[in-house]
Symmetry: C2
Subunit: 371 residues, 2 copies
């Protein structure tokens, strides 16, 4: 049996063993006890959705009202993320080498909340604004909303024996999308208004993500012209990121399927919609892609609790799996898509854990203006 | 990097990540709470020893007295295991092909307890007797002792959400030894009198165990002559078992090291001695080898609780690891030791989970009498 077949067996066995027939994500009517959470979800590294998770939070009735948010946060300075596409931390056309891709981060500016919220509500296909900052912002910038939610998820804190490392707030609209990645955290993701749509794949599906190194770039928004430019970081920095866009346009679909057959022809990702009042347990190391639907006011608001993960035998097994190559003969992406690949050596796909191997990169010309 | 080096990295990473520097087995003064047990030991698949685990059991003061055991069990029929060496379920010289090995099980006879206990106490280098039966015997044959211990380990039952699948009693002496194997159970192992000495290796060390298929055989004890014969099972049955004897005789040491370099030259196994009143949590899938020291009366008595393990992502990862070959160039054992190997295809090392692939075996001549 070739190693490729063994890896495919692993994809299937994880589904068969711990995700049921047909494989699916458990829905719990109410929060589990700490013991149930540890035993049935955290230990087996298995996601679940809790239906009546946060029905007692004042946020559920207060936050759908933009006037409440405007009143409470008023002119508090907050971080606004701007992109021309709604896709921050995502792959896009390389600014100087149009046949290849780069990893683009958003333009970040600090604005009074009222103005920032207007920008989110007024987003269009030329400028998409997203209020988010994955730096514990709910306990920082948004401290005025603290009493609307809980400081931590008590059953999770008890199970894990610690408090959350970070609590983040996300105020966006239907145009924002988060590309496939994984986090080194146990994640409890609560939707307050609107809906979030997750695609989930277990860590064992690593090879199906086609993680390759891309040069880091950042959007710059020009207030006067209302246009974006995309600039490569200087010095150049490599970011390992998933090459897969799970929702290609109809005209790109066949090309994507040909390039990423392990993703498109393998087991389907788990599709999970998390509604207002519900909470997703998103286990550490699971790959996830997120889109969102807005409420009546046009917003999707969520709050997530990141708890430190334990680096145990599962993590060691993951690193071993990651070190085993899937034959390029069966993986056209590895030699077609990324012409930078031979210059890079990283192989992780971690937010906040990017290898800096710029010295090995060719010296790329950076265009300042792509508008 | 060759796959062999990646596998070696895995051995080291499991130690670095979850077993401390230097790697060692945690000792807890008192039993953990169910949450602590789940979070700190069961989830990361990590062993621990609990010091004051069973000090409240009447067994601790009662069982060191053989007169109490004789009085309580009297002539209750019990299962006695006899071998000429103290090594049951272990590799020994093949009865008809002296240059190869077979997997030998003990002769089992049912005797009144008093006689069986005498046999254990009178064991010598010609006949070693062991009172044990891994069939929930503590709740069966030894039911009269039930009130001396606990029916289950309450913190473990609460953590795991179930009662033990089997509770086994072991009454032996210093001559009995259990060869390297793993079990598909979460195991709580309580020593009542004497000491047990464990060698432990995590499941990720699979390739270091040199698991090969051996033909099953069974000792037969002949009461009249006081001699044993060893007979192959008919039809022939293959048992996948570890080839490693961690304590070879001085004259065999170099040969063993040459044949099993991954075991002898790799990271040392964890050495854990469990004393009377202590309990070892032996995680599912960990390889273990056991020897014992007796108390003043010459006995080592222990009781173990087998809880069903969960077959989750860790198990799937293990199966994947097991499917990856370690190059024979670096593994002399795979072509030197077992001349039957090419006829077998199994690769697990599980008590009670042996593949029956007898049809693929050559037709071996079985000698009835090896005395």
């Amino acid at each position: 049996m070739e190693v490729e077949e063994k890896i495919q067996n692993l994809w299937q066995e994880v589904r068969d063993l711990s995700l049921g027939t047909p494989p699916q994500v458990d829905h719990l009517p109410t929060p589990p006890t700490p013991l149930q959470f540890l035993r049935d979800y955290l230990t087996p590294n298995k996601p679940c959705v809790i239906s009546a998770a946060t029905h007692h939070w004042p946020a559920l009735s207060l936050w759908p009202s933009t006037s409440y948010l405007r009143h409470t946060l008023s002119s508090t300075p907050v971080s606004l993320h701007l992109t021309p596409t709604g896709r921050a931390d995502s792959l896009t056309q390389h600014p100087t080498s149009p046949s290849s891709l780069c990893f683009a981060s958003s333009h970040v500016q600090t604005l009074p909340f009222e103005d920032a919220l207007n920008a989110v509500l007024e987003s269009d296909f030329k400028r998409v604004a997203y209020l988010q900052e994955q730096n514990d912002c709910f306990r920082g910038e948004y401290g005025a909303l603290a009493s609307d939610c809980e400081e931590d998820i008590t059953w999770a804190s008890e199970a894990l024996g610690c408090r959350p490392e970070a609590v983040n707030l996300w105020i966006g609209n239907h145009l924002s999308e988060t590309s496939f990645h994984k986090d080194h955290y146990e994640n409890l993701y609560a939707v307050v208004t609107g809906e979030k749509h997750f695609l989930l794949l277990p860590p064992t599906d690593f090879h199906r993500m086609y993680i390759r190194d891309y040069p880091a770039a950042r959007y710059h928004y020009h207030q006067d012209s209302g246009e974006f430019t995309l600039e490569l970081e200087d010095p150049i920095r490599a970011v390992p990121w998933s090459s897969v866009d799970p929702y290609p346009s109809p005209e790109e679909k066949q090309r994507e399927v040909d390039m990423f057959p392990l993703y498109f022809n393998g087991p389907k990702p788990f599709e999970v919609t998390v509604k207002a009042g519900e909470m997703l347990y998103l286990p550490s190391m699971w790959f996830h892609h997120v889109t969102q639907s807005p409420d009546n006011s046009g917003l999707t608001i969520a709050i997530n609790y990141w708890y430190d993960m334990r680096f145990d035998i599962k993590y060691a097994y993951f690193n071993f799996l990651q070190s085993i190559p899937y034959s390029p003969r069966k993986d056209p992406a590895s030699f077609k898509v990324i012409n930078l690949e031979s210059s890079f050596s990283g192989s992780a796909c971690d937010s906040g854990d990017e290898s800096d191997i710029a010295e090995s990169l060719p010296n790329l010309n950076v265009r300042d203006d792509m508008s």
